[in-house]
């Protein structure tokens, strides 16, 4: 039993979902994703018992390419995030009338497949293929099931596609260049070749372009808010919850190990860009009136901090990045789901049209508050651990970085609470707001348990992580 089974389950599940037809699609999709989650858990158990769950076989001899799926702590954590969030994201679609649901859910599973592959691949070429494959389903999900008029949506989604595609091609050049030197795409072989500092800087920059667009880091972020806004709820959750994390993961797995001697000035510039992104996104979030866009910018601010932590090149920064990545994935999915629930009831994302929901829906409000606090990193939630470690790592580089980066928490608290006040509290709304139904409750409950449990007891995660580092 090794990690290929997770991948195969998701791929076959995608096909089965498509075949199952409109009525059964959701059931099949949820079931498959749960099986994938079970398999992930099983693989983690085996891994912790010291059994190797990696998989390796040669794909091509010329060029020398291996289908190599390496499972270590970091990969398994990311796979867990994917397979944990996928069934929940699918469940958020219950009761929502999507056109052609079998196609939509098949695409969601296919995307989960591609993302899992990205997290597992150890061969640079295979990794690149999975990385690009993940782009195609989200393109169609956003294009076909998104909101707003066709023309506006199309423009936003095409922009997103071309941006990300462009970035990743430069990553491909970097891989090709490395391949010329080592004759293999396998990460251990690539890490062994000795490059001059100049070469490393160029390779660093090529990778950076791909990841900066994916995350996104200022000034490569212009696609993000529009894409998040126009995508259907499922697409937004996939994008923000998992796909962004592909970028952070890749920084930790590929970029930093391959370019340890990158030019100090370049690294500093990147750090400054991350910090600018944090402040810039926070400031925009302050002014946003659309819930989805507000969350998009808050997500950009948080991810900026994660990236900054990773680029500090310190042990703490990298660990903090991993922890915060998981926390952010869970929290942002929950927040987008809550916003989606509001949309289902009131048909709007505009804050000014909301308000006075608390009296109608006390369970909803409680969950909203939990995730809001988790988002701003209140002690006792998962995010606190991550953000604290990240800020600590920034302080090792320079106090000014930590202070500026820390502003995200202050800003975050301000705009999130303000949003909460305007959208949820206030005079009781004249329109009734039905409280959570059982499925919605279940999804939010599971997410809330995860956020609080790991906030109090993060040991399982750090244990698994240290297994690899």
């Amino acid at each position: 039993m090794n990690v290929t089974f997770i991948l195969l389950t998701l791929l076959i599940g995608a096909i089965l979902t498509f075949v199952a037809g409109k009525k059964m699609a959701l059931n099949v999709a949820v079931l498959t994703s749960l099986v994938a989650l079970g398999l992930t858990a099983f693989n983690i158990c085996e891994f912790q018992n010291g059994i190797d769950v990696s998989f390796q076989t040669q794909w091509m001899t010329k060029p020398n390419i291996w289908i190599s799926l390496k499972a270590d702590g970091l990969s398994l954590l990311m796979v867990t995030l994917t397979t944990f969030l996928t069934p929940l994201i699918l469940l958020t679609a219950v009761g929502k009338d999507y056109k052609n649901p079998h196609k939509l859910f098949a695409l969601v599973l296919f995307m989960a497949f591609a993302m899992t592959g990205t997290f597992l691949a150890e061969d640079g070429f295979v990794y690149y293929i999975f990385w690009e494959l993940a782009l195609i389903p989200i393109f169609f999900i956003a294009l076909l099931w998104g909101s707003d008029t066709w023309e506006i949506r199309k423009a936003a989604i095409i922009k997103f596609f071309i941006y990300t595609f462009a970035g990743s091609l430069f990553m491909l050049i970097a891989f090709l260049y490395l391949y010329q030197k080592s004759g293999s795409f396998l990460l251990p072989n690539l890490a062994q070749i000795s490059l001059t500092a100049d070469e490393q800087t160029w390779i660093f920059l090529a990778f950076f372009l791909a990841y900066a667009i994916k995350l996104p880091i200022f000034p490569f972020h212009t696609w993000q808010a529009n894409t998040y806004e126009k995508s259907p709820a499922i697409g937004t959750m996939l994008l923000s919850g998992i796909m962004l994390k592909m970028g952070v993961y890749s920084i930790l797995r590929w970029q930093l190990p391959l370019t340890p001697q990158v030019d100090e000035r370049v690294l500093n510039t990147v750090l400054v860009l991350c910090i600018i992104g944090i402040i810039y996104a926070s400031l925009i979030a302050l002014r946003e009136t659309n819930l989805k866009r507000l969350l998009a910018y808050s997500s950009m601010a948080h991810v900026g901090l994660i990236a900054a932590g990773a680029y500090t090149f310190t042990q703490d920064g990298m660990q903090g990045a991993v922890v915060q990545m998981l926390a952010h994935g869970i929290v942002i999915v929950a927040l987008f789901f809550l916003v989606e629930i509001i949309y289902k009831r009131y048909r709007t994302y505009e804050i000014k049209d909301l308000g006075g929901i608390r009296a109608h829906a006390i369970k909803f409000t409680s969950f909203f508050l939990i995730f809001l606090f988790a988002s701003i990193g209140l002690p006792g939630t998962f995010s606190f651990i991550g953000e604290f470690t990240l800020l600590y790592s920034l302080s090792q580089i320079g106090w000014i970085y930590a202070i500026l980066g820390g502003s995200t928490i202050i800003f975050g608290a301000y705009y999130m609470l303000k949003m909460f006040e305007d959208a949820i509290l206030g005079k009781t709304n004249v329109k009734t707001f039905a409280d959570l139904n059982s499925i919605e409750f279940l999804v939010l409950f599971v997410l809330a348990v995860a956020v609080i449990f790991f906030g109090i007891y993060p040991k399982p995660i750090t244990d698994l992580l240290f297994f690899s580092i």
Binding site: M60, K62, I129, L133, I136, L143, I158, L169
Partner: protein, 457 residues
């Protein structure tokens, strides 16, 4: 040589079949014949084994490309049955012309003597002139035939002039003698002039910048199936021939000329892609995209020692994707006067299968992973890096990004959700769907196991 003889026999047989009133059997018999020819070529069956004074040299290179040409022709012939329904009395002419086209291509790829090369080139070109103008009722088709003929003759003239100069310098048409002569320092200088002229002629045939101006008009005006032949069979044949010629003279030509060719390759990519952005006619768009693909294939010229398999892979991937795309275009645009991209609006709803195939074909051309087009680009970039041409890779990547935009324009149209009620209900012939699906499956199969192709060399 066996391939050539078999094909020539087949072409004549088709004409005979028309005479003895067996018009209905022409297409099936041709496909069978082509399959047999494919077997002969691919399995190296030697029925007649003479070397014919080194006129035709069969190498692995020529064998592989000939097989590819035959497969492409099978697809084209299969589509002809339905395509020429309105001119059914002329079908034997059209089919045999397609076989002659194939003969020209095979001749070009396996020449051992420059006369043979020129004969092959002329067979190919003249057939294409006829086919381009083969819709006499359409003014655009007439224009295409005429334009192609005039400009093509110039190119042939250049090539002939070049061959004459090469002959003057080396006193032979034979490739072996020539390759010995270029090592000899006493060979006159004007040999290089001959080489340049031949290269210019071939650049015209592959529609590389600055000899590309004919391509959009001719592609747009010709009947769609001829466009398909031109952009797959003829382009690949010319490209492979250019590669072969370049490989022979590579050690002789100067550094400056190589730099010039590199610049031409880069500009070709840019011109094709940038012009394609604004097109609203899909055939014209594919013509420009074909120009940029020629630019990509030119990357192989700068590493002739190692890029043979890579060039073949790219050419095959591009051809299969093109065949699939053109099959869908023929089926969709049959009921319209022109081939505007807006005719594809709502195809995703009306006929999801066809839309999916066209999407995959375009994704392959754009170079999205898992489709063979991506691996093709990847292998070419790899070969360019091997020979130290990083600039080609960077410009190639930038062009891949540009090309995504116009390929996705078509994909967007197909899945557009605007009102599509005015779409006429059409019964698309199953033959186009079959051809398209088979071609795209070949493309995906190549993408899944690329080494099966690369290891053939």
């Amino acid at each position: 040589m066996n391939t050539l003889i078999a094909l020539a026999g087949l072409a004549v047989l088709i004409l005979v079949l028309e005479i003895i009133n067996l018009r209905k059997t022409i297409v099936p018999l041709t496909i069978l014949g082509l399959l047999a020819a494919l077997g002969i070529t691919f399995c190296d069956v030697q029925i007649l084994s003479d070397n014919y004074n080194n006129m035709i040299v069969e190498t692995n290179f020529s064998k592989m490309f000939s097989s590819l040409f035959i497969v492409i022709t099978i697809f084209l012939v299969a589509m002809s049955q339905d395509f020429y329904k309105e001119q059914y009395e002329k079908i034997s002419d059209y089919i045999s012309l397609k076989i002659f086209l194939l003969i020209g291509a095979v001749c070009m790829i396996s020449f051992g003597n420059l006369t043979m090369f020129f004969i092959g080139l002329e067979i190919l070109s003249i057939t294409l002139y006829i086919l381009a103008g083969s819709n006499p009722t359409k003014i655009k088709s007439n224009e295409a035939g005429m334009k192609y003929f005039l400009l093509g003759s110039f190119a042939s003239g250049f090539i002939l002039f070049g061959i004459a100069l090469i002959y003057g310098a080396t006193a032979s048409f034979d490739l072996n003698t020539i390759s010995n002569a270029i090592l000899n320092p006493e060979t006159p200088n004007f040999l290089s002039l001959g080489v340049v002229l031949v290269t210019i002629g071939m650049l015209f045939k592959i529609a590389a910048f600055p000899f590309h101006f004919w391509a959009p008009d001719v592609y747009q005006g010709s009947p769609t199936i001829t466009t398909a032949s031109m952009s797959t069979l003829a382009k690949v044949a010319a490209m492979a021939t250019l590669f072969k010629i370049h490989a022979i003279f590579e050690s002789y030509i100067s550094e400056a000329f190589t730099v010039l060719l590199i610049c031409l390759a880069i500009v070709t990519m840019f011109v094709g892609n940038i012009m394609a952005l604004k097109q609203d006619n899909i055939k014209r768009m594919l013509a420009y995209s074909g120009i940029s693909h020629a630019g990509f294939m030119m990357i192989a010229l700068f590493n002739t020692a190692n890029a043979t398999a890579e060039l073949f892979y790219y050419a095959a991937a591009y051809s299969f994707a093109s065949i699939a795309a053109f099959a869908i275009i023929i089926a969709v645009c049959k009921n319209y006067k022109d081939e505007k991209i807006k005719h594809f609006k709502g195809l995703g709803k009306q006929n999801p299968m066809m839309a999916a195939v066209l999407t995959m074909a375009l994704l392959s051309m754009a170079g999205i992973p898992i489709f063979a087009g991506f691996f093709g680009k990847f292998f070419l970039f790899d070969s360019a890096l091997q020979s130290g041409h990083l600039e080609l890779v960077i410009f190639g990547v930038i062009n891949s990004i540009i090309s995504v935009y116009y390929y996705f324009k078509v994909i967007n149209q197909m899945y557009s959700q605007e009102a599509i009620s005015e779409l006429p209900e059409t019964n698309h012939s199953w033959i186009y769907k079959t051809v398209a699906v088979l071609a795209i499956l070949l493309n995906i199969a190549m993408g899944l196991c690329p080494s099966s192709i690369l290891n053939l060399f």
